[in-house]
């Protein structure tokens, strides 16, 4: 068994997670939370659900070296009850990254966590990120791979009081892959957390990004999804205003081409005591093909009375006036189209606080736009 089994409390959590998943199995489209995302193909793909033999990484090592802090936080935030994939990960994970920053520490360079999938395998990366009070860090989680495989990741992020954390997730999985990920964030008082959730790859993708905000917190959830061919990308987000005077911003933008589909579901909970909440949610979609489908749905549950919550969603096509304007200046139709798509995506990319990643994403975006014209359609 794994190192995690050596901690009795954790072993118990994992045993219960296994039972939960056993009893419930994969969710179906009859469940509201999964209405537009059919995950039955993951089961049918006959990839072994249990992980391959573990490699030694930091979380595994930390389980032996710093069991107290792991026990305090691991599997305490991401809910096995509400998401079977979290249960599946919790019962099966072997390893992942453990990032622990003590109080009042500024980490200058961004921390990169790279996850490269192995064809034919299922992996359950499990990351725990614990940032001490008054500390500051930027983290990048990047997922890549080739061929057919299933990645089922869970990242729990604990943001200490007054800490500032920026988290960037780059999903660049293969077009045949399944990618399911949960990012569960707990923010202590007066902390500032930013998530940038970028989905460029994957055949079937589901992201759940959930943040719980305490008093005086600022929480930002941004996202960009670029889909083509038969890709399906589902982003479910939840901002839980659990206490008063917290501010949240959310901007998700999608670019859909081919016969792809995408889902945006943005929940904002404002608890009874969360007065003076200020929450703003925006979802914008650029649909480039008649065969692409977007489902967008804001869900606001507001129990406090002195709050400001706004939400808006748009679905549009390329602006033909703008396209003509660029072409009338000599810019080729394809370049003009790419430029307008880039312009649409730009404000999400430019909110990322790591300059190198902005440049990287701009290049990745353009090369995907160019590749999508060159490559034959990939079936998944």
């Amino acid at each position: 068994m794994t190192a995690a089994a050596t901690i009795p409390a954790l072993a118990e959590i994992r045993r219960r997670a296994a039972e939960l998943f056993e009893a419930r199995g994969f969710p179906t489209t009859r469940e509201e939370e999964w209405r537009f995302t059919n995950v039955s193909s993951i089961g049918r793909a006959r990839l072994p659900i249990a992980p391959p033999s573990a490699q030694v990484h930091s979380l595994r090592a930390a389980l032996e070296q710093e069991p107290e802090i792991i026990e305090e936080h691991l599997a305490r935030y991401a809910s096995c009850e509400s998401n079977p994939f979290v249960a599946l990960n919790t019962s099966n994970f072997e390893d992942g990254a453990f990032v622990h920053i003590p109080a009042n520490t500024i980490v200058e360079e961004p921390v990169w966590l790279d996850f490269k999938a192995v064809p034919g395998r299922t992996t359950h990366p499990r990351n725990l990120i614990v940032i001490g009070a008054g500390s500051q860090i930027r983290l990048v989680e990047r997922y890549t791979g080739a061929g057919k495989y299933f990645t089922n990741a869970v990242t729990e992020i604990v943001v200490g009081q007054n800490a500032v954390v920026e988290h960037i997730k780059l999903e660049e999985e293969s077009l045949e892959s399944f990618h399911v990920a949960t990012i569960q964030v707990r923010q202590a008082r007066n902390s500032n957390f930013k998530s940038h959730n970028i989905s460029f790859g994957g055949g079937l993708v589901r992201n759940d990004v959930n943040a719980v905000l305490s008093t005086g917190c600022e929480g930002t959830l941004n996202g960009l999804y670029l889909t083509n061919f038969k890709q399906h990308v589902d982003n479910h987000t939840a901002l839980d205003h659990a206490a008063h005077h917290a501010v949240s911003h959310e901007l998700y933008k999608g670019i859909l081409d081919g016969a792809s589909s995408a889902v945006f579901n943005g929940k904002i909970f404002v608890r009874k005591d969360a007065q003076k909440t200020d929450a703003k949610q925006t979802n914008k979609n650029l649909v480039l093909s008649e065969n692409a489908v977007i489902n967008t749905k804001p869900e606001l549950q507001i129990l406090a009375d002195d709050v400001r919550c706004t939400h808006g969603a748009t679905v549009g096509q390329l602006d033909q006036e703008a396209l003509f304007y660029l072409r009338a200046r000599g810019i080729d139709k394809r370049d003009a189209r790419d430029l307008l798509i880039y312009a649409f995506a730009r404000d999400v990319i430019h909110r990322i606080g790591v300059a190198g990643i902005q440049t990287y994403l701009e290049k990745a975006l353009f090369s995907r736009l160019i590749d999508s014209r060159r490559l034959p359609e990939v079936t998944s």
Partner: protein, 266 residues
């Protein structure tokens, strides 16, 4: 055709020949047989009431696919223009100063203009300009238009005032140096100071190998950009042509007298 035009241009070939051009959008015919010949170095003004087809003519020449050409032809530089995509027309030296310049958030003026200039240079078989040379060129042209350099890093026309947008069009024209410039109501909505700057920019760009077709509703522009020829477009046809005095005549009588001309033309 006017006698003076023939005399002055015997040895040259026209840059633009429009012959019996008919165009429609949807089921609505807007151009009903426009003919116009423009020689290198000439400035033509096209005047006419609202809805006469002035802007449609400019958009058809620039290649806007909202309009379908149903009859007639447009020859540019001896070749069939209507076969070309809008970008090919621009690359060959056609420039349309838009009546309503489009706001494009997220694309900087600088990036846009560099891409446009290099596309045109590439078509001419010239090397692309590097960043330094480009910036030097752009600074020189900005000074001409009295524009602030901060405009370069702003998104195309985004948050620009009406005057700034029109000035930006002529600035682009100055950088791209077209052979045929179509100015679509570049004067409308401008106060007199802005009008002078825009007109001065255009006048600086007048040259023996550059032709200008200025479309306007108002005679006022023609006090500053003196045309060689003035045409009156009404009901989709050119109903009267003359020299600059025709514009003054129109200013006095208004477009009311045009109705009679339209009847005659039918």
């Amino acid at each position: 055709m006017l006698v003076s035009q023939v005399e002055g241009t015997l040895s040259r070939s026209p840059v633009l020949e429009i012959k019996n051009l008919h165009a429609k959008t949807g089921d609505k015919e807007i151009l009903r047989g426009v003919s116009l010949t423009v020689y290198p170095g000439e400035v033509h003004a096209i005047m006419g009431p609202n809805g006469s087809g002035k802007s449609t003519l400019a958009q058809v020449i620039a290649g806007r696919d909202l309009y379908q050409v149903t009859d007639g032809e447009v020859i540019y530089d001896g070749k069939d223009l209507l076969e070309l995509a809008p970008e090919e027309r621009a690359q060959r030296g056609i420039f349309l100063a838009f009546q309503y310049p489009v706001e494009i958030p997220g694309v900087s003026n600088l990036y846009f203009l560099k891409a446009a200039l290099n596309a045109i240079r590439k078509n001419k078989g010239e090397a692309e300009l590097d960043a330094m040379d480009f910036l030097a060129l752009v600074r020189q042209k900005m000074a001409l238009m009295g524009m602030d350099e901060s405009l370069l890093n702003r998104a195309i026309n985004t948050g620009f005032s009406g005057g700034e947008k029109k000035r930006n069009e002529i600035f682009q024209m100055a950088v791209l140096e077209p052979r045929l410039a179509l100015l679509d109501e570049t004067d409308s909505g401008l106060d007199i100071d802005a009008l002078k700057i825009v007109a001065n920019g255009v006048n600086t760009l007048r040259s023996p190998d550059r032709s200008i077709v200025a479309i306007t509703h108002y005679q006022r522009l023609l006090n500053y950009i003196i045309p060689d020829y003035v045409h009156v477009l009404a009901d989709g046809r050119i109903v009267k042509s003359g020299d600059k005095s025709l514009a003054l005549e129109l200013e006095e009588t208004g477009y009311a007298g045009i109705d009679a001309l339209v009847e005659v033309a039918r």
